[in-house]
C-alpha cells in the first residue's frame, strides 16, 4: 500500500510543478510565422502545431481574425501604425521571439473603435505560445524524435482571405474581367499606333499589301502558310551558311537578329495590312449602301479593321464570366488572328513588302489593238490608274 501511495504523491508533485505548462493547450503552440505588409493590409499569420493557423489582419478599416471581421479601426490611425510597427520589427525575429513580441504588444493612447479592436487582437493572441525550437542535439535526431510533434497537414498559405469567400470570388472575377479588357485595349492601342505610323511613313506599300491580300486572298493564304513552314529551315540554312564562311561567323548574331526582326515585321505589317483591307471593304460597303462617310482615309481603314479583328478577343474578354462559352470565343479569335496574320504574311511576300503590284489587282485591262489603232498618235496618253509614274 505504501508504494502506490508514494507513487501517487510523486505524480501529484510533478503535476503541481508542471501546472502552468500543463494548462497550456499543446495544440496551440506556434511553430512558424509569416508577416505580410502592403499598402492594403498588415497581416500576421501564426501556424500552430495542431495544424491550424491564427491569422490577424488589419485591412481597409477592418480587423480580421481567421477570416472573421471582429472590429474596426481608423485607417492610418494609432492602432494601425502600432500594428505595422510591431510587424515591421518582427520581420527579423524568429518565431518564438515574434510570439512573445506579439503577446506583449501595446498601443497606448487608443480610444473608441481602435481600443475595442486592440482588445480583440490581444485576445486572439493571448492563448498562443511558441513551440520550443529543437536543441542542437535534436536537430540531428532520428525520425522517431519527430513523434512528439503532432501531425500537421500541408498548409497552403498565401495572402490571407480577409473577406467572405463569395465577395472575394466576385472581386477576383471583376478584376480578371477588368484586366482582360485592359489588355485588349492596350493591344489595340499599340497596334493602332504602329498601324498609323506605318500608314504615315509607307502608305503606298501598306495599300499594295492590303490590295494583294484582298485581291489574291487564297494565294496569299497559301504563300503565308508555306512561308511560316519555311521560316525555321530558312533560318537554319542562314546560320549554317554563315558558319561555313569564315567572315560569316562574325555576321551571325546580326543576321539572326535581322532575320527574326524581318519576319516579325512581315507578320505584323501583314496583319495591319489585312486590318486595312478589312476596314476598307467594310467602309466601301457602307458607302455603297448609302451611308455618308466624311473622310475615308487609310488611317480610318486601319482603325476600323483593327476593331473588327480584335472584336472577338474583346468578346472573349467580356464573356469570361459565361463559363465554357468563352473558349469558343477565344478559339474563334485565335483562328481569325492566325488567319489574318498568315494572309498578311503571304501578301507581304507576294508583293515583296509592297513593292510589286502584280497581285494587287491594279492593272487596268490592256487596250486591244483596235483601240490602239483608233487613238491618234499625237494624243498624249494619260497615266494608267494605279501605275507608278
Amino acid at each position: 500500500m505504501r508504494s502506490p501511495a508514494r507513487s501517487l504523491l510523486v505524480l501529484g508533485l510533478v503535476l503541481a510543478a508542471a501546472g502552468p505548462a500543463a494548462a497550456q493547450q499543446p495544440g496551440d503552440a506556434v511553430v512558424s510565422h509569416a508577416i505580410a505588409l502592403s499598402s492594403r493590409d498588415a497581416t500576421l499569420e501564426l501556424d500552430l502545431a495542431s495544424g491550424k493557423s491564427r491569422v490577424v489582419s488589419l485591412r481597409d478599416g477592418n480587423v480580421i481574425v481567421d477570416g472573421q471581421n471582429v472590429g474596426h479601426y481608423a485607417a492610418g490611425g494609432a492602432l494601425e501604425r502600432a500594428w505595422r510597427k510591431l510587424l515591421a520589427d518582427g520581420a527579423s525575429l524568429e518565431t518564438s521571439a515574434m510570439v512573445k513580441s506579439a503577446r506583449a504588444w501595446d498601443a497606448p493612447g487608443l480610444g473608441g473603435d481602435d481600443l475595442a479592436a486592440k482588445g480583440r487582437i490581444g485576445s486572439a493572441l493571448r492563448d498562443l505560445a511558441s513551440a520550443p525550437p529543437a536543441s542542437a542535439a535534436a536537430v540531428a535526431a532520428p525520425q522517431s524524435a519527430r513523434a512528439s510533434f503532432p501531425a500537421q497537414p500541408m498548409t497552403a498559405e498565401s495572402a490571407p482571405p480577409p473577406e467572405p469567400r463569395a465577395s472575394a470570388a466576385t472581386s477576383t472575377g471583376v478584376q480578371l474581367l477588368f484586366q482582360d479588357v485592359r489588355n485588349i485595349v492596350a493591344v489595340f492601342i499599340a497596334l493602332a499606333m504602329i498601324g498609323f505610323g506605318t500608314v504615315f511613313f509607307g502608305r503606298r506599300y501598306v495599300e499594295v499589301i492590303a490590295d494583294t491580300a484582298s485581291n489574291a486572298f487564297g494565294r496569299s493564304l497559301v504563300v503565308g502558310l508555306l512561308g511560316q513552314l519555311l521560316l525555321l529551315p530558312t533560318l537554319a540554312m542562314l546560320i549554317v551558311g554563315l558558319i561555313f564562311t569564315i567572315v560569316g561567323i562574325l555576321l551571325l548574331p546580326f543576321a539572326v537578329v535581322a532575320f527574326v526582326v524581318a519576319a516579325a515585321a512581315a507578320a505584323l505589317g501583314g496583319y495591319l495590312a489585312v486590318a486595312h483591307a478589312v476596314g476598307e471593304t467594310w467602309t466601301r460597303r457602307r458607302m455603297a449602301n448609302g451611308a455618308f462617310v466624311r473622310h475615308p482615309t487609310a488611317y480610318g481603314y486601319v482603325f476600323t479593321g483593327l476593331v473588327g479583328l480584335l472584336g472577338l478577343w474583346a468578346a472573349a474578354a467580356l464573356f469570361g464570366w459565361a463559363g465554357p462559352v468563352v473558349y469558343v470565343f477565344r478559339a474563334a479569335a485565335f483562328i481569325v488572328t492566325w488567319l489574318a496574320a498568315t494572309v498578311g504574311f503571304g501578301a507581304v511576300l507576294l508583293s515583296r513588302a509592297g513593292l510589286r503590284e502584280t497581285f494587287a489587282g491594279r492593272h487596268a485591262g490592256e487596250m486591244s489593238d483596235e483601240y490602239l489603232w483608233a487613238t491618234p498618235p499625237a494624243t498624249p496618253a494619260a497615266p494608267r490608274p494605279g501605275r507608278r509614274e
Partner: protein, 284 residues
Amino acid sequence: MKRTAAVLVIALVWLVTSAGAQTLRTLTSARQLHGESSVSVDVTYAAGQLRLEPASPGDLYRMELRYDEDQFAPVREYDPDAGVLRLGLRSLHGHTSIRGGHHDDTPSLDVALTPDVPLTLRVDIGAAEADVELGGLELHRLTYKTGASESHVRFSQPNPVDCDALTFEVGAAKFTASDLGNSNCRTMSFHGGVGEMTLDFGGEWHTPAEANVKIGIGSLKVLLPRDLGVAITLNRFLASFDHQGFTKRGGVYYSDNYASARIRLHLDMDAAFGGIDVRWLDDR
C-alpha cells in the same frame, strides 16, 4: 476623326496610368527546426531577383518575398510528416509579366535554408536573376532549372554530406557554377540551350565524379584544378575546342596527370554551334 483621336488619347492615358499601379507586398516568413531528419525543398520563382543561401543554425527556413499582390501569390507550404517544404511565388493569372520601373519595385525572393539537415533541393526559376550560395548546406541532391536568366551558383564551402546528383537545366541564360568540387557530388549534369555557361570545377574534391555537359548554341567555359585527373569525351558539331594540355587516346582527351591523380573527373561534353574553352584554374 477628332472623336477617334480623343478616344485614343483617353485610352492611352488610362493605360499608362494603370500600368504603373502595382501593389507591392512584402512577406517575411520563418520556421525553426523541430526534429526533422531530412527535408525536401522546392523553390519556385517566376521572375525577379532570387537569392538563396544557408540559414542560421536552428532555422528550417527564412524567406523574404517582395511581389505584386495583384499578379502573384506567395507559396509557403510545409508538410512535416513528409518533410516537404515548398517556397516561392506563383502567378495568379497563369502568365508572368514584370513591370519595369524603379529599382525598389523589383520583385525579389530571399530564401535561407537550414544547414543542419540533409536537403533534397529543387530550384525552378523563370526569368530571374539568381544568386545562389549552396556552400555549407547538407545537400543530398540538387535539381536546378532556369529559363531566361542570369544565374550564379556557388559552393563556397564543402558539402558535409555525400551528394548523389547535381542537375542543372539552363534555357537561354548566362550561367555560372563555381567551386563544384565542394559539392561532393558523384554525378553532375549540365544541360544548356542558348547562352554562356561557365563551369568552375574548383574546390575540395573528395570523390571521383562524372559530369555530363550539353550545350546547344553558345559558349562553354570549363575551369579545372591542376590536381584533378580529367578525361574528356567530346561530341561536337561546329564547335571549336582547344585541347592544349590534353592527350587524345581512343577518342578521349586525357589530362597529363590522369594516371597519377588521386581524384578523377570524367567529363562528357556535347556541344554544337559554339566554342568550348577548357582552362586550368591556375592559368586564369
